[in-house]
């Protein structure tokens, strides 16, 4: 670890990616994450790596796809509308089993929406998003430091499972500055081309073909099952979840990303008022930490899910709790960040037995 530097989230993730051994960036400008490609455009040439501004998000993700086929650590970053454009590429990448990292700095939608922070792409990210039965690993940091740390992990997971890893952030985390301490540089001097990569056959005994196509249904079913097996392995080994003040909690707030961070303030404020609240914060939103919810359902009186969307993670929480305890929801839409005070107000109402304004 080095010294702490004060950095915007959008820049910290770029620096972290470079230190994590990311050799190439392909992307297209979109607010509120332009600081990320701008940072890459300055830094990548300095370290002899690739930066390319693509003509569109569609081209960008297919450049990422191509680079991933060479076994190179590669990244693209975008925001909601741009991520929508990339969905076809995500689906191809999934069924081709190639590794890459994608950052979505979410903004308000649908459509052109606005550029304020939002979390309304949760379903798109965690359920696949493009066509076909697939998943990406989806990680939702809640501080700039955590985002920088997770970037290393994201590349490791991508390589380990040959899968796309999505870092799900929002405009607030992208624009916010915090002191960051970066992990040591990953040594790239002796990078080797993986045996499965398509760079020309060379001395390899056989040629490699990377494709998401299998025209025979029986063959494609086998490929699909193999994907599902991989997902099972990821579900059993890579779930990550933070619990805050949950040991004696009677009420579990649940949230991810920025809202989870604000929720820690809510927990503190609630406890000052004698309400024993805690927080369950899924760090991986896919795979979802369902066991944690299952376990805490025995303990708490209810769950209180807060999101900057219309209740998308809510469904995963409800599936995990499986009717054992009530799961209430509060959210703001359109790019409004809920304040700790309004969340506390809602929690107090619920804990007092009233639940108006709650779906």
């Amino acid at each position: 670890m080095g010294e702490k530097v004060l950095m915007k989230g959008a820049e910290a993730i770029a620096e972290a990616a470079i230190r994590a051994g990311c050799m190439a960036f392909f992307g297209y400008p979109i607010t509120p994450q332009n600081e990320t490609p701008e940072y890459f455009s300055r830094r990548m040439p300095q370290v002899g790596r690739v930066f390319l501004q693509a003509e569109s998000e569609v081209a960008a993700i297919n450049m990422v796809y191509g680079a991933a086929c060479t076994g190179t650590r590669v990244i693209t970053t975008s925001s909601s509308p741009g991520i929508s454009l990339m969905q076809e590429g995500f689906s191809y990448i999934a069924n081709s089993n190639v590794p890459c990292v994608v950052v979505n700095v979410m903004r308000g939608g649908p459509g052109l929406g606005d550029i304020a922070p939002a979390q309304a792409d949760y379903n798109q990210a965690t359920k696949g998003g493009g066509h076909g039965d697939y998943h990406s690993i989806v990680i939702a940091p809640h501080t700039v430091q955590e985002a920088a740390d997770i970037m290393f992990k994201a590349f490791e997971l991508a390589d380990k499972y040959r899968i796309m890893v999505v870092m799900l952030m929002d405009g607030l985390m992208g624009q916010m500055m915090e002191p960051v301490e970066f992990r040591e540089w990953v040594d790239v001097k002796n990078n080797k081309v993986p045996v499965w990569a398509t760079v020309g056959q060379g001395e390899r005994g056989q040629r490699n073909i990377i494709t998401s196509l299998e025209i025979l249904a029986e063959g494609l079913e086998k490929m699909d099952i193999a994907l599902q097996e991989k997902y099972k392995e990821i579900k059993s080994g890579e779930v990550c979840c933070e619990e805050y003040m949950m040991d004696d909690a009677e009420y579990a707030i649940t949230a991810f990303g920025t809202v989870a961070r604000i929720s820690k303030t809510v927990v503190d404020l609630a406890r000052e008022r004698g309400i024993k609240a805690g927080l369950i914060r899924p760090v991986t939103v896919w795979p979802f930490p369902d066991k944690v919810f299952e376990k805490r359902a025995e303990q708490v009186k209810f769950f209180f899910d807060v999101e900057m969307n219309e209740g998308q993670m809510l469904l995963d929480v409800r599936l995990s709790v499986n009717g054992k305890k009530p799961v209430y929801y509060y959210g703001r839409l359109g790019g409004i960040v809920p304040s700790a005070e309004e969340m506390l107000g809602e929690l107090e109402k619920l804990a007092g037995g009233k639940n108006e304004n709650i779906i």
Partner: protein, 185 residues
């Protein structure tokens, strides 16, 4: 100790720089800090503000809903944040271009003729640093000396020559705040 301040003014008044300097100084003093800018589609003009939190412990929410302190550089900012201020919070006001009085009686006010002082120092653009100096003097969030160190991080290259006038602005602002509070409290 957790100090929260909103800094707000027109785009171009150096609101973000003041916030970043404060955050940088907090970091230098080994505190936890967050700096959260408002952002919009426009690059210049319009009201811009940022939330800065400096704390001894890890900061949960970086969003300030109800400020303990506000550095207010223009009238629209006063109108926006006055109603949100916490009781006994403090508003540090750029009196030069804000003719209006603070109506609330439950907040402290420090009016500084910042833009005039800045002009006298030789550059109207250091208005932000005069107010930041005043804030640091009153709230002791970070020391003036650490803020001066932060200047060296942010004003580099062509801007390096602006360090002395900005240092003077911090000192002058601190002195003005002291004087104002001595007469008014």
């Amino acid at each position: 100790m957790e100090k929260q301040v909103v800094i707000s003014g027109f785009g171009g008044q150096g609101v973000m720089l003041a916030g970043e300097l404060l955050a940088e100084a907090g970091k230098t003093e080994d505190k936890f800090v967050t700096f959260l800018p408002s952002y919009g589609p426009e690059m210049r003009g319009g009201t811009a503000y940022c939330d800065v939190i400096v704390s001894d412990k890890a900061i949960a929410s970086p969003v300030i809903s109800f400020p303990q302190a506000a550095i207010i550089l223009n009238l629209p900012s006063l109108n926006k944040f006055e109603p949100l201020m916490k009781k006994n919070g403090i508003i540090i006001l750029n009196k030069t271009i804000i003719p209006q009085d603070v109506k609330r009686k439950d907040v402290r006010v420090c009016k500084i003729d910042a833009q005039t002082i800045a002009k006298e120092l030789g550059n109207e653009k250091v208005t932000n640093l005069i107010l930041l100096g005043a804030y640091a003097e009153l709230e002791k969030t970070v020391s003036i000396e650490t803020l001066k160190k932060s200047l060296k991080v942010y004003l580099t290259g062509r801007k390096e020559k602006l360090i002395p006038i900005n240092e003077r602005a911090l000192d002058t602002g601190a002195a003005a705040a002291k004087e104002y509070m001595a007469c008014h409290v």
